[in-house]
Structures are given as C-alpha cells and as structure tokens.
C-alpha cells in the first residue's frame, strides 16, 4: 500500500484478494444466470443431430410460424416507427397543454403486464367486448387472426421508438429546425434534411429494440391469437406448442432462431451505442419534459 508517495491511493474494493474473489463470484453467476440459458438452447436444439434440427425448421408449421412472425413485424414495426417519430415531433417541437400526460400515457404499455394487454383487447374486439358483435356482423375477424396479433404487438411496443427519440430531440432543441423553416424549407424538408440526420442512430436503435420485442412477444399474443396450429401461431407460440407436445428438441430448434435474433439484436445494440444511440435516456416520464440537467448538451 505504501509503496510510493506518487502512487494514487488504491480505490475501495481494489485489494487484490477481494477483487479476485468478487470477480470470480460474479462471473460465475453470470455464467449460470446468463450464459448457461443461452448455451442450453444451442445444445438442446442440436441434441438429436443436424438433420432433426433441419427437419424441425423446415416443417410447414414452423415455416408458417416464422412467416407469421415476420409479417407481424413488417406491419407493427413500421407503424410503430411512424408513431414514435410523430409523438417525438409533437412533444419536443411544440408546447401544448397535456404534454406530460401524453408522455405518461405513451409509457403505460411498458408497465402493464402483456397478459393484461391481451385480456383488455378481448374486451374490445372479442364477442363479449365493445365492438365484437358489430365486427362479427360485418364478418371482420380481428381476434384469433393476424390483425389481433399485430395490434397486441403494437400495444406492448408502443413506447419503444418514442422513448429513444423524445429525450434526444428534447436535448437537441428546436433551433436548427427553426432556422431551416425560417430559410424557407418546408416541414418535410426540415425533417428529412435537418432532424433525421441528427436522430438516425437513436431511431434505428429504437427500431431494433422494437423489432426484437415484436418478434419475441408471447403473453399478449398468446391471449389474442387463439393458438391455432399452422394458422395463428407466431414463433414464440409455436415454441410453446412444441414444448407441450413433448417435443422439447423441436421447441429448442425453433427457439434457437429467436436466440440468434436476440444475439443479433445485442450486437446491433452495442454497435449503435458506439454511434451514441441510447445514451440520453429519459429515465422517467414524470421526471419532467425539460432537458435533463446532467445530460442536456446536444
């Protein structure tokens, strides 16, 4: 410790023995809690050989589940993105009464259980719900069909893009956009040439996280989908079905696709964070709509 006067005093917890023990214990837990669950998916998926794995993936039901998952994401994610941008533009570029309330409402899905969301949708579009009888009369099928899966996915991911954009655009202020419009640029031009380049990484970040959640959503979708094999099973629901059919290997084969998606999402996340995305998080909706004092620098 007193090896030399110029040495910076070692910080708390830097004693070599303590350090080694803490590091070992925590990393052991990381291996148990995080790495093992990931590893076991791969091990189980290939436990009956590559051929069986291939056969599971190529099975029409699995292929259909993948297709349904991709289609759901192709609808839900872009719609959600447009909403996120619109919400961020309205909330950060204008002052209007009820702005804070709007912020809170946008974040509600983040704290509501997906099961509650699914149940709630039944009471809107289900037969015992608000519009159910009218929808049945018009022969429009929302529940137990693709539209239901899409809107339930939209509910659970509603805040994903908006919560990345709002704090960033809040911090960037309105000066650039005001300069652009005062020079005669139209609103669209201002958005595409001034705003978008400044928010593109944060936007992409939100889109990546949103997509990951849409493709993996289970609770809300399992309530509204009706779980019809080969018809309304998304990939996570298909995994459950295979698992309860005592086809664990098949379930893990299907799960390995979503695990790959999760890994790709993490890689994209790290890459985007290097570009500065995800840094300015507005940790709370009620914490205020003012730029955060600690991180307000554009």
């Amino acid at each position: 410790m007193s090896a030399g006067k110029n040495r910076r005093p070692s910080r708390v917890g830097d004693a070599p023995l303590f350090r080694r023990i803490l590091l070992s214990v925590v990393l052991l837990f990381v291996a148990i809690v995080i790495v093992a669950p990931l590893l076991v998916i791969g091990v189980q998926a290939f436990s009956m050989g590559v051929t069986y794995f291939g056969a599971t993936i190529a099975h029409p039901d699995t292929r259909h589940a993948i297709l349904l998952t991709v289609v759901t994401a192709l609808v839900a994610v872009p719609v959600n993105t447009v909403f996120g941008i619109a919400a961020a533009w309205a909330i950060t570029k204008f002052d209007f009464p009820g702005r804070r309330l709007l912020l809170v409402v946008i974040e509600i899905p983040f704290s509501v259980s997906p099961i509650v969301a699914g149940v709630a949708y039944l009471f809107v579009y289900g037969l015992q719900g608000l519009f159910g009888p009218a929808l049945q009369a018009a022969e429009v099928k929302i529940l137990f069909a693709l539209p239901g899966i899409v809107i339930a996915s939209m509910f659970v991911t509603a805040p994903f893009v908006a919560r990345e954009l709002i704090p960033l655009m809040q911090a960037q202020g309105r000066d650039l956009e005001e300069a652009a419009t005062s020079l005669g640029a139209s609103g669209w031009r201002t958005f595409f040439s001034v705003t978008l380049p400044n928010i593109k990484w944060a936007l992409l970040y939100g889109v990546v996280l949103c997509n990951s959640r849409v493709m993996g959503e289970f609770g809300a979708v399992s309530v509204v989908s009706g779980n019809i094999r080969g018809q309304t099973n998304t990939l996570p629901l298909h995994i459950e079905l295979l698992y309860h059919d005592y086809n664990a290997v098949g379930a893990f084969a299907a799960a390995s696709i979503l695990a790959m998606l999760a890994i790709l999402t993490l890689i994209a996340k790290v890459a985007l964070e290097r570009q500065g995305a995800g840094r300015i998080r507005r940790p709370s909706s009620l914490a205020g709509t003012e730029p955060q004092p600690s991180e307000a620098k554009p």
């Binding site: 917890g13 704290s111 149940v119 419009t181 609103g187 600690s294």
Partner: protein
C-alpha cells in the same frame, strides 16, 4: 418575444393521439369498464377468492425474492463492470441485456431445462434435496432472469460518475474499505438502486412467458396472478378474467407512479452530484 412556430403540429399530434387512443387507451378503458360492470359484490368475491389471493401472495413473494437477488447481484455486476478491468468485460456488459433481448418463452423453456431434475443445474441441486423447477423457487429464478438488467443499468452510470475524491477523503480520514463503502458509496448509490429495484419488482409482477414453463402452475401453490387471469379466460369466465386483470392493472399503475417517483429522485440526485 414569440418563438417561431414549426410546422407539423396538427399532423404529428393527430397521429399520436389517434394511435394512443386506439392502441393504448381504448383496450385499457374497455377492461376497466368490463370489470366495473361486475358490481362491487361480485367483483370483491372474485378478487378475494382463495385462489386469487394465493396467486397474489405467490406472485408478490417471488417478485420480492427475485428483486432482492437482483439488488445484490445487479450491484455486484455493475461494480465489476465499472471498477474492474478484466478480459471479456465488454462481452459481459453486452450480455447483461440478454434477458431483455431473449423472448420470454425462449427463456422459459431454457431455464426449465436447466433447472429440471435432470438438468445441468437441476440434477446437482436435487441431489442435495433442492427442487427448483415446478416450485416457487423456479418462479423466482424466472423473475430474476427477466428483470436482471434493471438494477445493473440504473446503477452503472451513477457508479461511473462517482468522484474518487470522496473515497480518498474517507481513506485519509482513516476509514477502512467496508466503512467507506457503507457510509460513502452506498448512500450515493441508493437512489439509483431504489429506482432499479422498483422497475425490477414491477416487471416481475407482470411477467408471464418465462414463468409458466418453470412454475408447475398448481393452483394455490405455484400459480401466478397473470396465469390465473389467462386460465379464467380459457374457461370463458370473462368477468373473472377482467376482474383479476384489473387488479394487475391497478397494481401496475401504482408501481408506475412509484418507479417514476424513485427515478425522479435518482435523477435529481445525479444532476446534483
């Protein structure tokens, strides 16, 4: 001086309000309406039934235990990520978010396989008489897994910003490491810890996908509230499902208010530091 007003308010606000109204407000209002139409007596009978109360107890107790685990483990994990340099640190840092990226159903079957009596961890544990899968312990593990990143990610930035001078001051005054940690560092981390803990707890209360595989789902014993709402639905007992879901919704709102309060405090603290 009046600020120049940017274009696009009607369009952007219009899209926002329509979307929020249709996607978020309408279904929740419909749920509340359905639950309210039960009348106070029926409502109370459903939400205070033995099976429902047992499910609240299991959910809350397991969420509490999972959150406690995440408090300790999350703090330790954030600590090694910020304070120590070791090979693979960046990979561990990225892996912290895995529970958010991995679909809950995938996490569910994966954890069940690991902790089943013949699994990698289940086998040695059952050899010493600890059953995890299909017990409340399994529910706790699934909850701990899915809410793991919260504490780490709220504590990490605060730990990074911590001024080394504070620790040096403690050392100059002759305090030992433990004393400095407890009296100087921990109080500074407390707001962030509380914020992380409340997010983690709220998430655990509402978790469904990861839990139903590992829980065993025995009524009164290993049945969480979210599952009970789901089961009532499958039994076509819609009023009961609405009532139980409304209890979860109210709890979620209370937790939302609480987490916002905690986070606002954490934020004020960071801003001042």
């Amino acid at each position: 001086m009046k600020r120049r007003v940017l274009p696009g308010l009607p369009l952007s606000l219009g899209i926002t309000l329509v979307y929020v109204a249709i996607i978020v407000v309408l279904p929740l209002a419909a749920l509340v309406f359905k639950a309210a139409s039960l009348g106070p007596e029926d409502y109370w009978r459903i939400v205070s039934s033995d099976r429902a109360v047992a499910s609240y107890r299991i959910t809350v107790l397991c969420a509490f235990a999972a959150t406690l685990f995440n408090l300790v483990f999350g703090l330790a994990l954030a600590w090694i990520l910020v304070r120590y340099r070791f090979p693979g640190r960046r990979i561990v840092d990225a892996l912290v978010d895995l529970p958010f990226a991995l679909p809950t159903a995938v996490a569910g079957i994966s954890l069940t396989t690991l902790f089943a009596a013949n699994g990698w961890f289940g086998a040695p544990l059952s050899a010493i008489g600890i059953k995890v899968a299909y017990t409340p312990l399994g529910i706790m593990i699934a909850m701990a897994f899915t809410s793991l990143p919260f504490v780490v990610r709220t504590v990490q930035p605060v730990l990074e910003e911590l001024d080394p001078a504070l620790e040096e001051a403690g050392q100059t005054l002759g305090a030992g490491d433990l004393s400095i940690f407890v009296r100087v560092i921990l109080p500074l981390l407390t707001p962030a810890l509380l914020a992380g803990v409340s997010l983690s707890f709220a998430r655990s209360l509402g978790e469904f996908g990861a839990i139903i595989f590992i829980a065993g789902n025995q009524p009164m014993e290993t049945e969480i509230t979210a599952l009970l709402a789901f089961i009532r639905l499958e039994e076509y007992d819609y009023p009961a499902s609405a009532a139980i879901a409304s209890v979860m919704l109210v709890t979620a709102f209370v937790m939302l208010a609480l987490t916002n309060l905690m986070q606002a405090r954490a934020l004020r603290y960071t801003a001042r530091a």
